[in-house]
Each structure stands twice: as C-alpha cells, then as structure tokens.
C-alpha cells in the first residue's frame, strides 16, 4: 500500500494510506506506528494513529519533514503487516437500569429483544481503532450488523463517565461526563484510566476488546473499588 505524505506546518508529517475507512489501511497505520516506536529517531516526538493515517510529530529544531519522510519510507520498505497482534482486553458492563436508558430503543429499532441486543454485543470482538474527542475516548469498531443504530437526532447532556455507548459500527466507553448522541446501553466499572503510570490507558490502538456481563451488585462492588480519573 503506497501512502501519501503531507507536510503539516513546521512540526508534523501526515502519512495517509487510504481516502476511505478500510481495514487494510488501518493495519498499515498500526504496523507503521509500531515500526517507528521500535526505534524512534532523534527529533520525532510522538505518533498518533487514526483510521487511515498516522501523524508523525517532530521537533522542528532537531529535524524536518524530508528527514522524517525518509525515515518513514525506510520503515515502510521493511514493514510487516500482521492483522491481529494487539492484546485482548476484557471490559465488564452492567446492562441494567438505570445504566441502559437506550437499550429498549435499540431493541425496538433493530426488532430484537433486549436480551438479544445484549447477547449480540457480548458475542462480538471489537478492535481499538483510535482515540479522539476527549482523553481516554477509545473508538472500538465491531458492533454487529443486527444491533447497529444511527446517532440520535439530539444529543443527551451530562452522560456519566463509564457509559457504554454505540453508534453505527462503533462502540465507546466514556471517561468524562459529557453530552452524547450515541445510544447509551450499559455502564462499566472498568476505567480506561488505569492509574498505572507505566500504562495509564487501558487500551492501545490495535488491541481487541470483549465485553463481559455483570449485574448491578457486582457493578456496585467493582465501581467502589475502581477509581475513575
């Protein structure tokens, strides 16, 4: 896959593998991200993986676009694409009221029972595509076809942190109290902020995620033990 390079201001290079969302492009993004991280040359400060492209940020005092592009091309020449290499992460979720205000609506929209909606969500394995919107907001792809619903017309305000929300093919576990137009159908006691300074965020881009059902008592017990934020 031959990428396109775009110079951004004085401090970044954007490497784009496709114009539209494409799993092959995302595999390339992850592989290139890992290749650059494995041997970070002087001047490159960070990389940001997204859906079809990778941002490579650098210190303009130490290097420049053409040196960074040359390094990226050398990484690409020996790039190995492995489709599944991330860690598998388990996230517990309680689908009971009051944590699932939109579960009924998702069931109605998809013509399924609420249990069938939950079971479809539990049966799927999700991929961590990228982070965005706010700290710790990891976009997970892999919502099964039969429970995909569009965004709601009007966002709901003050949705609590830990809400498990879906829209289209994507699922997300919120980390902050925020408005959302996605369907809220569960609450997780598992915080994306781990509190571990060596691994402060639960997921890395490229990880896979499955959900595990818990009841309200378990939620109450676990959320008491877990610190959010």
């Amino acid at each position: 896959m031959e990428p396109r390079f775009k110079n951004i201001a004085d401090h970044a290079l954007l490497v784009t593998f496709a114009d539209d969302i494409d799993s092959g492009a995302h595999d390339h993004v992850i592989a290139l991200d890992k290749a650059i991280a494995a041997k970070m040359p002087v001047g490159i400060t960070e990389t940001v993986p997204a859906l079809v492209n990778l941002l490579v940020s650098f210190d303009p005092v130490l290097t420049d676009h053409s040196a960074v592009e040359a390094h990226v091309r050398r990484c690409l020449d020996v790039l190995e694409i492995r489709t599944i290499e991330g860690n598998l992460r388990k996230v517990q979720v309680c689908y009971e009221p009051p944590f699932a205000p939109d579960l009924e609506a998702v069931a109605v929209a998809t013509g399924l029972s609420t249990d069938a909606v939950i079971n479809a969500h539990l049966a799927a394995t999700f991929d961590v595509l990228m982070y965005g919107f706010a700290p710790g907001y990891a976009y997970l792809s892999g919502v099964p076809d039969q429970i995909r619903v569009p965004r709601k017309q009007t966002p709901v305000r003050d949705v609590p942190a830990g809400s498990v929300i879906i829209a289209g093919a994507q699922c997300l576990i919120t980390t902050l109290t925020m408005p959302t137009g996605w369907s809220i159908f569960g609450r997780s006691p598992t915080s994306i902020f781990t509190g571990d300074p060596n691994h402060p965020f639960l997921f890395d881009v490229g990880d896979r995620v499955t959900f595990e059902r818990i009841d309200q008592n378990t939620y109450a017990r676990l959320s008491g033990e877990t610190s959010h934020g």
Binding site: N7, I8, A12, L14, D19, V48, P49, A50, Y131, F133
Partner: protein
C-alpha cells in the same frame, strides 16, 4: 520549608494552572495542553531565575485577585497587556514584585492580550496528571481551574530582590499576517476556498477558549466531501465545519476529528494569535513547510537568547543604581 499561602478572592472563568504541558499522549486522546502563549510563560520563569516549565497560573480576560495570607514570595507577571494592582498601586504586566502577608494582588484585562501568566519564585502546588500539572480545561484534569474561594500554596517560596522591576518584552515577535502551511486536507475544498482564506480578512469571535478560536469571515466552500475519516489534529489546525466556518485549534484541541483542515498555523504564530481578542482582524499568509521550519528555527534561536538575557539577575536597586552611576555618571539624569 517556607511557604506562601494565598486565598483566591476572585478568579474568572478559564483561569488555570499550566506547566510546560504533557506532550506524548495524543494517541490516547490527550493534547499537550500547557500555556496558550509559551513565550510569555517561559519569560515569567526565566525572569525569576526559575527552572523552565514549572507550573504557573494562566489568567484569562476574566482576571484574578489574590490575598496573601501567610509568608512572602517574589512573583512575575507576563503575557498580554494586563493591569496589575498590588496593594492599591497600579502597574502593568511584564513586572516582578514581592507580595507579603496581608497584601492583595489583582490582575485584570488591560488594553490588549487574552492571557497573562503569574509565576512564583517557588513551587506552586497542584494536582499532577500523567506527569504534568497542566490543566486540560475540558476535563479539569491536571492542576485544575483556579476557583474563587480556594487557597493556593507556593512551596519553597523565595524573595528575590535582585530581580524586582520591569521585565523587558521580546522584540523579535512578528506582527504581520499569521503564517500557515496550506493543508493537509486542502483537496477537500472548492477551488476558491484557499485563495479566499489567504486574501480575505477574518475576525476573532468570542467563541474562543483553550480548545480553539472560531473565526468570522467568508465561508470556505467544501468540495462535497463532508465526511472524511477522522484524522489527527494538531495545535494550529484550521478546521472548517460543514457550514464553511473556520476554527483555529489551540492548546486543548481534540486529537482527532472529521472536519477537513484547510491550513495549519506555524507553531510560533499559533501563540501570537492566541493573544488576540474577539473583534480583532486576522489575515493569513501561506508559507511552504520548509519556510515554516526556517522561520520557527529562527524564532526558537531568538527566544533562547532572549530568555538567557532576561534570566540574568539585574541586582538589587542599590546595586543597579551603583552600576548605572558608573556607566552614566549621573543616577538622576
């Protein structure tokens, strides 16, 4: 340990603790944050003789009023042209002074500039998140917003009489159009949009916070492709929403987003723009990415030299009078 204790008599919105920021976490949705005007922030610390990057308070147009409850400490105020009132005496920013127990300090918006910095000769204590006290304003993570009624503690509070007085402002900051490199999604705009972006005058609106600055001006037409896959965003990205309105993203920007970016402001001009106020006109000029690097390298070299100059203690008032007397022959000339 010598501490200075302040109570916050008043803090406007968007007054926050900031340090040099937490770069390296954009992949987790976390922008670097840190000061909106990095030069003014660094100057405050340099002029006090502090190490670079320590926490300071970023003051918005809303202003800040402090009451010193315990101890004494020397402090520096830089940034926009703000009005400083110390114990009833009016002065302006780019000043170093010492505040003592019982005294009051007020910092209010003056004739120009949107952000001022208050740095202490000591360590401002606040919460740390991911190794930095910089506040991410949307979440409140990090040192946090400074709130009316709270206390502020400065540990290892020092008095530095040899640094009191005015801080010389940097003379090398550009004053013309804001330099930007076109793209990275200029291909998603209609053929007039880039020309229009570079030739027309925009205006800063009051839809302006630490995340970004919305501009008023000609609408920038998108070329059909309204939904691009979410892409990384940087500080300085000029993103254009579906209705053609441009927003310049700043220190607390979202890290990814699906709006196309017509251009990206170069780093030193991002901070210059951040000091502008609602109603001020903005013009953009296009530079190549190589020119951008040359310009930023020159800026950084000048900045390093400037910070080194102002970090030299000028001596106490007596010492300065004596040295000037030797040079000029007359103190009261």
């Amino acid at each position: 340990m010598v501490e200075a204790l302040f109570s916050v008599s008043f803090a406007g919105p968007l007054v926050t603790v900031q340090d040099a920021g937490r770069p390296g976490n954009m992949r987790y949705g976390v922008p670097a944050s840190g000061p909106m005007d990095r030069l003014a922030f660094d100057a405050a610390h340099a002029a006090l003789g502090n190490a670079q990057g320590l926490p300071a308070i970023e003051i918005s147009l809303g202003g800040l009023m402090l009451h010193c409850k315990e101890g004494s400490v020397t402090l520096a105020i830089t940034g926009g042209n703000f009005v400083v009132e110390h114990n009833g005496q009016k002065t302006s920013s780019w000043i170093i002074l010492t505040i003592n127990k019982g005294e009051r300090l007020a910092i209010r918006a003056g004739t120009e500039g949107s952000w001022a910095y208050l740095a202490f000769a000591g360590r401002l204590l606040s919460e740390d998140w991911l190794g930095s006290q910089a506040t991410h304003a949307t979440s409140g993570f990090g040192g946090g917003a400074v709130q009316t009624g709270q206390n502020l503690v400065v540990a290892d509070a020092a008095i530095r009489n040899d640094r009191l007085g005015q801080i010389p402002e940097a003379g090398f900051v550009a004053s013309d159009a804001i330099r930007a490199v076109i793209g990275p999604q200029d291909q998603h705009f209609d053929e007039n949009a880039v020309a229009c972006f570079l030739s027309e005058t925009f205006t800063v609106t009051d839809a302006y916070d630490r995340m970004g600055m919305r501009l008023k001006g000609p609408l920038l037409g998108l070329d059909g492709a309204l939904s691009i896959p979410s892409e990384p965003i940087v500080r300085g990205s000029v993103q254009v929403s579906g209705d053609g309105v441009a927003t310049v993203l700043l220190a607390d920007h979202q890290t990814t987003g699906g709006y196309p970016k017509i251009a990206t402001v170069i780093s030193c001009d991002t901070d210059r723009l951040a000091q502008w106020r609602a109603g001020q006109p903005v013009r953009f000029t296009s530079v190549s990415s190589q020119q951008a690097i040359n310009d930023v390298r020159r800026f950084m070299a000048q900045k390093t030299q400037y910070l080194a100059q102002i970090s030299v203690a000028r001596g106490s008032l007596e010492q300065r009078l004596a040295s000037e007397n030797l040079i000029h022959g007359c103190v009261f000339d």
